[in-house]
């Protein structure tokens, strides 16, 4: 057990290193000479050269990668060209919004997916199942940003129940905060819910046909008990994997959702950064989000033995 946990935790190191290499290469290939940008176009070549030397821009690429990595290890992800605030501070301010959005979207997704998935699996090929599959199929085809726009129109313009965008922080009270977050959460969570539903349904069907479920039913356990205690536990294992992957999509989806609903989260931060050519901020955030995605998946993997004691520990494969 301990060996598995350690092996799995260590195995993300090469992935994380690979991510840093990739992100570094992006910064390396960004067009334009940072020294020239900061010195100004009219600066004499000597000044630019000395700036280049001062920042180590004249060093070979692997030295620059080393310096860059050392900075990251010290928590220095660079700073904004414009506001001169550090990337970490900018992210720290935006993070709670994105975290709340992703969490609420996940709640929406699970709240839709779990009941629908279970009922569909318990009554396969029923009208409910067919309907849920069909609706899920349509949900899979709707771009989140368009769903967001349509929700804004319906609830913000036609019904006037909810604000059409903008963010009210938690400090202004939970109800006001929720009013600004519920539509973004639905827009972001719907897509994930369709995926989760499919997997839960398939997983449950798998499990419900197993012998041990028949035994549990035969010995007279209540149907609900069989479903919740016996079936759910095994059906949750593939579900958790998808949940981990979906977390990553949610992190990526926040960029779009925050842009649609004008929420001041990390997604809008990174998008504005790239559109304003504030590259240090953009690249720093890309690095953070990719690392976060890897770590979320690590946590999901580490939860496996808890959910499923039979999991074959220490099984080494290089591919997912």
């Amino acid at each position: 057990m301990a060996r598995y946990l350690i092996w799995r935790a260590v195995s993300v190191v090469p992935t994380l290193l690979g991510i840093t290499v990739l992100v570094f290469l992006v910064t390396y290939f960004i067009p334009g000479d940072p020294a020239l940008v900061l010195a100004g176009a009219e600066a004499p070549p000597e000044v630019v050269a000395s700036l280049r030397h001062q920042w180590g821009l004249d060093q070979p690429i692997y030295v620059r990668y080393g310096v860059w990595m050392a900075n990251i290890a010290r928590g220095n992800l660079g700073e904004s060209y414009f506001s001169h605030q550090t990337v970490l501070r900018l992210v720290g301010r935006a993070f709670p919004v994105t975290f709340e959005l992703a969490l609420l979207a996940l709640v929406v997704a699970v709240a839709i997916a779990v009941p629908t998935g279970i009922i569909s699996a318990v009554r396969p090929s029923s009208w409910f199942d067919l309907g849920a599959t069909a609706v899920g199929f349509i949900g899979l085809s709707i771009p989140g940003f368009w769903l967001g726009i349509m929700l804004i129109y319906l609830f913000g313009a036609e019904l006037r129940w909810l604000p059409a965008g903008g963010f009210t922080p938690l400090s202004s009270g939970l109800p006001a905060n929720m009013r600004s977050m519920i539509l973004p959460a639905i827009a972001l969570g719907t897509f994930a819910s369709t995926q989760l539903m499919r997997y839960l349904r398939a997983g449950m069907l798998d499990v419900l046909n197993a012998d041990y479920i028949r035994t549990a039913r035969a010995k007279g356990l209540a149907a609900a008990m069989v479903l919740m205690r016996h079936a759910m536990r095994n059906a949750l294992i593939p579900f958790m994997t998808v949940l981990g992957v979906q977390m990553g999509y949610l992190l990526g989806g926040t960029v779009i959702t925050e842009s649609v609903f004008a929420l001041p989260g990390i997604g809008r931060l990174v998008l504005n950064a790239i559109l304003n050519r504030d590259y240090q901020v953009a690249v720093g955030i890309i690095l953070l989000i990719a690392a976060a995605f890897v770590l979320v998946n690590l946590v999901v993997d580490l939860l496996y033995p808890v959910l499923d004691p039979r999991v074959r520990l220490g099984q080494a494969t290089s591919w997912r």
Partner: protein, 306 residues
């Protein structure tokens, strides 16, 4: 996910194999008919709509009632009417014509991205699965790294190097979809490699490239075709999303995501402006998903669940 597929399980159900069904037979055969029609019919309907949209894209210049960039400042943000079926935008341009021309860019860019992804991805997967060893480990790690980037972030990273535009979008989508193609071809090869026909090909002295291309690749066509159509659906979604964010095509290009991005500013005055380009995306993605699902039923004997 492995043993019993949902559909197969329900088929067992109806045959009275695994479970005794207590539902009336009439309803059950009616449902079965609904399911059957759903499957075969959906593939045909999906294919029909996709082909129709391809024709619209190709013939956009001929069938559009107006030039997509013809402005008419006297008739801006008009609701749908006889002369403008989908209404007009903020410059008085005909939205229907712009939707027609938008299909071009979307189909072209998503198609290019998927083609790139399937070529590079399955080459990596095929060779990794066939040769194994260190090469397998390294390629596995690399695809893992790309897997760690949500497509929007890949898009942002690539735009920071190449600048905004459709080429960046194509590369981003291709890179994001590549791991899926690599993974599926690799696992298919690992399975096929064990069969005797491969050993037989070796025995008669076939070269490695010959074995990979001529004996193994044909067995991958099924799973890959399914994956291509489903990947195409995702590519359309991503293409529209990235353009919507301003990373892809730029105004005044007629493109669905770009149109939606402008439409957002006029949402309360003219909601149809945001409605029609969005519905076009949904229709195209939905049809591609139908095709993918239908093909999976027809072609993929191993029935991947991804």
């Amino acid at each position: 996910m492995r043993a019993v597929e949902p559909e197969r399980a329900s088929r067992l159900d109806h045959a009275g194999g695994a479970h005794v069904t207590t539902r009336p037979i009439v309803t059950s055969s009616l449902r079965r008919a609904a399911r059957w029609a759903g499957r075969r019919g959906s593939l045909l309907v999906g294919l029909g709509v996709v082909l129709a949209l391809c024709v619209v894209a190709l013939a956009a210049a001929a069938i559009s009632p107006y030039a997509p960039d013809r402005q008419n400042m006297a008739a801006t943000l008009q609701p749908p009417s006889g002369s403008h079926l989908f209404g007009t935008d903020e410059f008085g341009r005909d939205i229907l014509s712009r939707v027609f021309f938008g299909a071009r860019l979307t189909l072209l860019a998503s198609g290019a991205a998927v083609l790139l992804a399937v070529l590079v991805g399955s080459t990596i997967g095929l060779t990794a699965g066939y040769f194994g060893g260190v090469y397998d480990t390294i390629t596995g790690r690399i695809t893992d790294i790309f897997f760690a980037f949500p497509v929007v972030l890949l898009g942002i990273a690539i735009v920071s190097v190449l600048g905004p535009g459709e080429p960046s979008v194509v590369v981003a989508i291709a890179l994001a979809s590549l791991p899926n193609f690599a993974r599926v071809s690799r696992s298919a090869i690992l399975r096929e490699r064990e069969f005797e026909y491969v050993a037989a090909a070796h025995a008669v002295g076939a070269s490695t490239p010959y074995i990979i291309v001529r004996t193994l690749l044909p067995n991958l066509i099924g799973p890959l075709t399914v994956l291509v159509s489903l990947g195409f659906a995702y590519a359309v979604l991503y293409e529209a999303s990235l353009s919507f964010l301003g990373l892809g095509a730029q105004p005044p290009t007629p493109e669905w995501g770009v149109m939606l991005s402008s439409a957002r500013d006029y949402l309360f005055q003219s909601p149809w402006y945001a409605f029609f380009p969005g519905v076009s995306i949904v229709v195209l993605v939905f049809s591609l998903n139908l095709v993918g699902d239908g093909l999976r039923e027809l072609l993929d004997p191993y029935r991947h669940n991804r």
